[in-house]
């Protein structure tokens, strides 16, 4: 690939720009509160683990992480399992209203969460799902399902049609073909789609906060409230922030070779 002059310098500067604010957060999470407020230090002079300890021992804190992971995983499973057959259909067949349907899905991916916050609150209260992980998982489907369909459609289109035809000639039934042949072929695509569902569900706060109150409260919402109520406990806030970055950083590792293609929604 052809590059431009000074690319190392540009890349280096940009990476520093990306990492510096994160470093500052990590740095703060290891400082005592008195060090944070009183002096400006580039690294923790009296390193402490007290903030992390507090999060891992106080249930009102660590339950937030469990709640968040719960609805994120639920959402990812729902999104991928409904999106797979649809992606196949969009990739292989033409049917009545297919283009309109695709556009409608796309438009839901783009719909602002703020618009849906209040009606979702009413809807999920009415059917008794309010304050459960299911409410958030289903609500996040509105942007994750279209995204999953979009990504998977790109990957399914990359599988030659001859493979389907051969399988059907060999006497495979449709469900068997789907599970035994197609799914293994687009395994990387499923991984990428799952990664994106995980990511967008993990980073979203507005809906997750609106649809939960006590039982299923996500970590992001706990961060905003506890801290402002107890004055400003900067160290604790920073430690909680650092811990929310870790799951994301872990999943990136698994999809690092497919990230770029996934961001292009499978169609490069």
């Amino acid at each position: 690939m052809h590059s431009i002059p000074g690319r190392r310098l540009i890349m280096g500067l940009f990476l520093v720009f990306l990492l510096l604010p994160i470093y500052w957060l990590v740095n703060m999470s290891f400082k005592t509160n008195s060090e944070i407020v009183s002096t400006m230090t580039l690294w923790p002079h009296t390193p402490t683990l007290q903030h992390y300890k507090r999060i891992f021992t106080d249930e009102s804190w660590y339950s937030g992480y469990i709640n968040s992971l719960e609805y994120v995983v639920l959402n990812t499973i729902i999104s991928i399992s409904v999106a797979l057959p649809a992606a196949y259909a969009f990739s292989r067949y033409r049917f009545l209203g297919d283009k309109h349907l695709f556009f409608w899905l796309l438009s839901n991916r783009m719909a602002p969460a703020a618009v849906y916050a209040l009606p979702f609150f009413n809807l999920y209260s009415a059917i008794g799902l309010f304050d459960t992980p299911w409410a958030v998982a289903l609500a996040h489907c509105i942007f994750n399902v279209p995204l999953a369909v979009w990504i998977l459609e790109g990957f399914v289109s990359g599988v030659p049609r001859e493979i389907d035809e051969t399988a059907f000639l060999d006497g495979y039934s449709f469900p068997r073909f789907f599970i035994k042949i197609l799914v293994p072929l687009i395994a990387s695509g499923i991984g990428v789609a799952a990664f994106f569902c995980f990511m967008f569900s993990w980073v979203e706060l507005l809906l997750a906060r609106t649809l939960t109150s006590v039982q299923a409260k996500p970590i992001a919402a706990i961060m905003t409230r506890t801290v402002s109520a107890a004055g400003m406990d900067w160290g604790l806030l920073a430690a909680a922030g650092v811990l929310t970055i870790i799951p994301g950083a872990l999943v990136i590792w698994f999809v690092r070779n497919y990230i770029a293609r996934g961001f292009a929604l499978g169609r490069v």
Binding site: M1, I10, I78, K99, A114, V115, A117, L123, V203, F263
Partner: protein
Amino acid sequence: MDKTVNQKAWFLVLPVFLVVAFSAVLPLMTVVNYSMQDTFGNNQFFWNGVGWFKELLDPSTDLGGRFLASLGRNLFFSLVILAIEVPLGIVVALSMPREGWTVAACLIILALPLLIPWNVVGTIWQIFGRPDIGLLGYVLNAIGIDYNYVSNEVDAWVTVIVMDVWHWTSLVALLCYAGLKSIPDAYYQAAQIDGASRWAVFKAIQLPKMNRVLLIAVLLRFMDSFMIYTEPFVVTGGGPGNSTTFVSIELVKIALGQFDLGKAAALSLVYNLIILIVCWIFYTVMTNAGVERKVQTESEPAAEPKPSAALKPVPALKPKEGVA
């Protein structure tokens, strides 16, 4: 690829349709219902017809003034971040290392900001920019720039924009990188033989190849910046005054803050309609681009992509796209 007509495909799409319809259509109907009514609390509703919509589009009323002002701010914000993030993203993508472990390292660091929960992004910049405890705020003040995003409008705007650049430029860069990766080496070799300058290579080979991904990048960035809520809310809370109150923040204020359901619903519908129109324009452009490409390749059976006549690959190095 030719698709066969098969109406049974609807059965495969049905689960998606049901799940999304449950989350999209039912709530939207509630919104439409609310938008025509007024409430005095206690679940008492009164028919208000198109009253809210009239008020919303009339800048002389309180509601209309707030809506149009926040819409203006939001459009300005979207344009500014697009103007920064798209060129910067292209430059970063072009600066990616060619091979080795550094590629993976760069990719992972680039993707990192994208995976941080949005309110934590806000928190990071809230802390980073504070003059007392944040590195950025402290350094800026130390070198004599009076920077305070809480009280100064310009500083608040700069902070929100830099935060968005920090958060989302990687997305543009990763998309462009994916586009660049799909260019066969033969193109560059041919360009070298022709003695093309770097700028010519960029204009004739790289930019056309990035067209599609750039379109997706612009679409995603425009939409997401147009409905931005969490990050500016955490950092500035929409202030100082109303200077960084974007449409979503205004909407949540009206809906969940004042519980003015009618006004909020009317605002939601207009907001959604704007998004829908922009979305439709992009979608049409995107599908048209796809059709054009197909027609082009069909009219040239050899399927030899021509970046430009001058940069035509030499026969021995012809990319074998027809086979793949």
